[in-house]
């Protein structure tokens, strides 16, 4: 590095690399402190759980307690469902549906790229999309049951609808929003149309496509539960609805908690993947 670089080095963003040392020091020194901080933040949650336990055990009578079992009973029910393998079986069926639907919904990525890149495609396809998009996936359930019957295909169709549109819209926006100078720079460096699309536009749009995937999987997961509530013989949605018919509210709550936790995990996994695969995309890696 030349002497002239000194001035510019001072302008380096704070996150890297000069502050790398201090950042690691903070991390190293405060591991127990950080754990404590995390736990401290759980205080209110813990208080709520205790309150719930107290209300359920001491204030409700035997009949109403059936409607709101205490956390201890829910934990017991969770253990039952886990040890018999039932929870795992339903979870597996739900996840399988989500994944199959997601793979189908990936078709929205090439479609979105084509719509974002070629005006003709957008002009033709956009009216169709605009007609279908405002219809909530759940509104398709009755028709979907008639078409596909009760079971996997019906569920996958509903989830597919939930995942498809967020990915599509974000892909279109991502492609259309690529910094024009990046495309110009690529052309001046000798890239042809295909290379511009593949090497520049697609990469530049990737963070937004991933955002679409995150939103889509979230919406899909919600749609999944709804689809399973009314049209399935297995899955977490089926589990909680089935438990309701026999008044096993503890099972219902276990199912609900599982749905929430899995949704959270999916989102967390995608974010971790983004940090790994798109390290340059600061907006997402935060």
């Amino acid at each position: 590095m030349t002497a002239t670089d000194k001035a510019s080095v001072q302008h380096r963003p704070l996150d890297l690399p000069m502050s790398g040392m201090s950042a690691s020091r903070v991390r190293a020194a405060s591991l127990p402190a950080r754990a404590f901080n995390k736990l401290k933040n759980l205080g209110f949650l813990l208080a709520l759980l205790l309150l719930w336990q107290a209300i359920s055990v001491w204030m409700l009578d035997n009949t109403t307690r059936t409607l709101l079992p205490p956390p201890s009973a829910v934990l017991r029910a969770a253990w039952e469902l886990i040890s018999t393998g039932e929870l795992f079986r339903h979870l597996r069926d739900s996840l399988k549906r989500e994944i199959v639907a997601f793979l189908w919904a990936m078709t929205s990525i090439p479609l979105g790229i084509a719509m974002g890149w070629w005006k003709v495609v957008n002009d033709q396809v956009d009216p169709v999309i605009e007609m279908l998009r405002p219809v909530p996936p759940l509104a398709w359930i009755p028709l979907s049951i008639l078409w596909f019957g009760i079971g996997d295909t019906q569920n996958q169709f509903i989830i597919f609808l939930g995942i498809f549109f967020p990915i599509l819209l974000n892909t279109i926006a991502g492609v259309a929003g690529v910094e024009p100078n990046l495309i110009r720079a690529a052309r001046c460096l000798g890239a042809n149309d295909w290379e511009v699309l593949w090497r520049v536009v697609l990469r530049a749009a990737l963070p937004q496509i991933v955002t679409g995937i995150r939103i889509g999987l979230g919406v899909g997961w919600m749609a999944l539960v709804a689809a399973e509530l009314v049209g399935a013989n297995s899955g977490l949605g089926f589990l909680i609805n089935d438990a309701r018919t026999v008044l096993r509210t503890d099972y219902v709550i276990v199912g609900m908690a599982t749905i929430g936790l899995v949704g959270l995990t999916i989102d967390w996994l995608i974010r971790a993947l983004v940090r790994k695969v798109l390290p340059w995309s600061r907006a997402l890696s935060k």
Binding site: M1, T2, T4, D5, A7, S8, V9, Q10, H11, R12, P13, L16, P17, E179, N181, L182, R184, A185, A186, R187, C188, L189, G190, A191, N192, E195, R199, V200, R203, A204, L206, L278, P279, W280, S281, R282
Partner: protein
Amino acid sequence: MSAVAVVDVSKVYPGHSARDEPVRALDGIAFRVENAEFCSILGHSGCGKTTLLTIMAGLEQPTSGEILVDGKPVGKPSWQRTVIFQDYALFPWMTVAENVAFGLEMKKIAAPERHDIVARNIQMVGLSGFENRYPHQLSGGMKQRVSIARALAVDPEVLLMDEPFGALDAQNRSRMQEELGRLLAQEDLRSKTMVLVTHSIEESILLSDRIIVLTRRPGRVKANIEVELPRPRDETEGGFVALKHKIRELIHDEFEIEA
């Protein structure tokens, strides 16, 4: 190794809506940049100088007139005329080395040779050791160095620069001007034809063999000045100051016309 002729170039933009008057950005621009010459296009913001540069690059088409490089009309953009942009236009998903290598990949240059060229150009702009950084990890000045290295790596015949230091603070800007002056004086770069768009009179005198002063809206050639001051140039030296005053007068007139 190319002479660039700008032949009677005009550019008219249609208005945003049907009621709007069409905007005449450039009007009958004509000048020549000789082979291996450094030419600045100087003008106020809004005089269409950036438009002229993008037309020279082939990124936009003139409404009338044409650009000839060695007598042949400019077609599509190509690596023979690379552009250095004010906002750097680095690919954020590529490291410094990958950015510099991009044009070489497009040129289908084999990997071993590519690595050599990349390393040489990164070293030339003083960024050795930063090869694996991403653009967002660099300061503005460093980003512009990468962009210069990327443009030079493909070995263009004509190098087009659109206010390359416009986004830098004053201190960094003068440093980069000085360095670019030194860089371009190197043996293997002296044969390249360079066109710089700028609104800074000092910058244009510091670097150019020829300065084209544009009027504003529509842009016309107001003056075509050959700079014959010895290099390296000194901003405090008499000839420099005199030329600066002369150009300032020219541009000052422009303000009064506008008012």
